[in-house]
Symmetry: C2
Subunit: 470 residues, 2 copies
């Protein structure tokens, strides 16, 4: 049972609504009805004989080689990208190095669309994907597609600073939605919208549902359903930014190591959190997926999934903005995915998931061990890269100096750097600094080496001693 | 003698002027004054051990192997990109696959900046470059940096349709500047600006100076100097879009082949057209260079060169829009440039230049041979990929049917496709269709095989017989 997405064209910005297809479309794909081979002197493409790359290759991990103790542990395979190929699943260099389709090269788009179907099975007809050059570009594009200067956008109370840096110069009024440890509060959202008075009611919600940056919180299915019902009630679009989606972790057992649940691929998929995209019967969710956290940020490849209206408008924009994602990146990714197949890629994602669980556990254990419990509070994140912890302001030694939260955090941060531990300050992520009344820090278990976690946290705990009574 | 660029901050758009640096900058590069190794739990970077590529390589042409009859003709060399490296000219995968600098990875930026110095030696202090994901993205970025909705922008009478498709949805009023066979007319430009009445006088000129798309015209140094003087007089910014810059060709000798001038690298550089960048004493030129026509469009790498104000504002935008160009593309390009060096790259560019001269000559010769001289007129382009030719409207057989220029061109185009020849219609490139009163077609010598040129042109000439008296 597949339904038609709703007509949501009233949500397009002036800029997006006025985009026209390029007249140059007539250049490509012309076929003579007389059956003649059409010689093209029309399109300004360079002849591939002038491309200075003849063949490209890389070493990739063999399927399963990432499992510790596996027979082929550590084994590498060679993948190569030939100059030419007639196989429709290949992305040869003659195509990858040429101007490409704004939506992405066919075999890679196909793989990522199949993957999206496998994980989210969107419930309405004719949904599609469009390659981006990562979620940063995807967000910039979506904002310009949906919003005009002076419009308002809803975001979580603490959010990704680059998203704010994209929104504010566009003249958007950023509206802070309250959160608790489980993410955005539907009640806060409903309150804001039900009591909106100034006209120009927000029409777009930007959210990071899984392993939210910076809070590490993850929206439950129940909250998602409530938020989706609000989107229908108040007619807003949900931009679902999901770079951390596959970094979902098992329950923390207060031990520094982790036990691999050894999921089958089916169990792994079944255990993944239900996405907004999966419950989106109207076609009002624009999901942004990224390869940055599970393959490599330097690939600069992501994709959006949405209803045809938003895909078509995004394609028009892509053609005049980024043209297309790097063909060289696309060719290398396609070589990887083609070699691994969907099963191999799911196995890789299970490995990433387990590795992050180990890392989270090790960092949490270090925090449990060194941070003073009486003033530090945090939860074990179910997903993502981040642990967000509050330090009790009431225990701050120098309250009489009248410093702002941002000043207090900055001083502690500077001191911690001197002592060899770098953490992120809560105020960097605050949407509305006028309601910033708690001291937070964000730590990540993504980057440092495992053995460094305890050292860094112990250093930071010692810094806290200088500033807090406990 | 190097001078300070002018303060041109009054040219920034509302959007660009309001951009702020990211607070996350504090995350990177923190150094402990106590000399401790700072362990970072701050930045959300994935650990490179989770990147599924271990080594990347490609086959590239050996230096000089592209010269016909050379000892090493057709020879290929292998280049490889290691996972890690301490050599500062290397761009290893551990860097290329990670989040990168918005301005581009250091060794590639350095090479392209040196190259820019070598070719253009900008005359003012502290100019810099910034990597883009190609000139399409570069233009989108520059337009958003300089212009607000309702502003006007000056462009050549016939221009690249994607540029217009980028400008118009942004709410820009596109002003057509008259041209002759040698490009934009400074008199027309001065006329428009001197007689501008409505307020909001145009502050930006977009131009394709060399091998202009679609007209194939190239601005002489004299015209550039006149236009630059007008930019100073009327205080406008010049966006110099130069994808075809290196496709500069020798004089056409009315023969189907070409003679290699066998330039030394020094002669080659000396013979290149003087750019707007070279005469830009104020820092009011933003030059856009592209690798699409001389290396590969699928690399999606270009760069802008400009004064520090524009580079810094562009960097702020890049950080929240594209983040950075594909690291995989950058790594492969750096491997190529590092292997070739500047001399090898110049030798490659000489080869491209000569190959395009051969192609242009072959197409011109076919046009001379088959197109009816009495109604078709064109010049031999000095640069680029395109030949632009007019077909005399006075000879059109069906003038009594009252068709528009666009309708006439479309009918001829459709007929030519049926007969196996695809050419581009003049009306696709017209800025102001109310002043479109001539029939034009654009043909390119870039893509088809040499032996196909005569076939295609003969087919097209036969189609003209149906529509024109000659």
């Amino acid at each position: 049972m597949s339904i038609q997405p709703k007509d949501l064209s009233h949500h397009l910005s002036v800029e997006s609504a006025s985009r026209k297809p390029s007249p140059l479309k007539a250049i490509a794909g012309s076929v003579s009805k007389k059956g003649l081979n059409v010689i093209s002197l029309a399109g300004g493409l360079p002849n591939p004989q002038y491309f200075p790359f003849r063949e490209m290759g890389a070493e990739i991990p063999s399927i399963g080689s990432w499992v510790r103790g596996a027979e082929n542990e550590g084994n590498l395979s060679n993948v190569s990208v030939p100059m030419d190929s007639q196989n429709e699943d290949d992305l040869p260099l003659s195509v990858a190095l040429q101007y490409g389709k704004g939506s992405g090269c066919a075999p890679l788009s196909k793989f990522l669309k199949e993957h999206t179907q496998l994980i989210h099975s969107p419930p309405y007809k004719d949904w599609d994907i469009l390659l981006t050059t990562g979620n940063t570009q995807g967000l910039d594009m979506c904002l310009r597609m949906l919003l005009n200067r002076g419009d308002s956008i809803l975001v979580e109370k603490y959010t990704f600073p680059s998203a704010l840096q994209a929104m504010r110069p566009m003249g958007l009024n950023v509206v802070s939605v309250d959160m608790d440890k489980n993410g955005m509060l539907p009640e806060s959202l409903d309150n804001i919208l039900s009591n909106w008075k100034d006209g120009n009611k927000p029409r777009v919600l930007y959210t990071i549902p899984s392993g939210q940056n910076p809070t590490g919180s993850t929206l439950s299915v129940e909250r998602k359903e409530k938020i989706y019902a609000l989107a229908q009630k108040h007619d807003f679009i949900i931009i679902e930014d999901e770079p951390y989606y596959y970094l979902q972790m098992d329950e923390y057992q207060h031990k520094p190591e982790a036990v691999d649940p050894k999921f089958t691929n089916e169990e792994f998929v079944k255990n993944l959190i239900t996405s907004f995209l999966h419950i989106d019967v109207d076609g009002r969710v624009i999901r942004m997926d990224s390869l940055s956290k599970v393959v490599a940020p330097g690939s600069r490849i992501g994709w959006i999934t949405a209803q045809p209206l938003f895909i078509e408008r995004s394609l028009r924009y892509t053609e005049t903005a980024s043209q297309n994602a790097s063909g060289i990146s696309q060719a290398l990714l396609q070589a990887l995915f083609q070699t691994w197949g969907h099963d191999g890629y799911l196995a890789w994602l299970k490995n990433i998931r387990f590795s992050y669980t180990e890392r989270r556990n090790a960092l949490l254990y270090a925090m449990d061990k060194y941070l003073p419990k009486s003033i530090c509070s945090y939860i074990a994140p179910e997903a993502g890269m981040f642990i967000w912890f509050e330090v009790d302001k009431a225990a701050y030694k120098f309250a009489d100096q009248g410093k702002s939260i941002a000043e207090i955090e900055s001083e502690i941060h500077a001191d911690a750097i001197e002592d060899g531990a770098n953490v992120a300050c809560g105020n960097w992520f605050v949407v509305d600094s006028s309601i910033n009344d708690k001291i937070f820090f964000r730590v990540t278990f993504a980057y440092a080496e495992l053995h460094e976690f305890e050292i860094a946290i112990e250093r930071f705990a010692n810094v806290l001693k200088k500033f807090f009574n406990f």
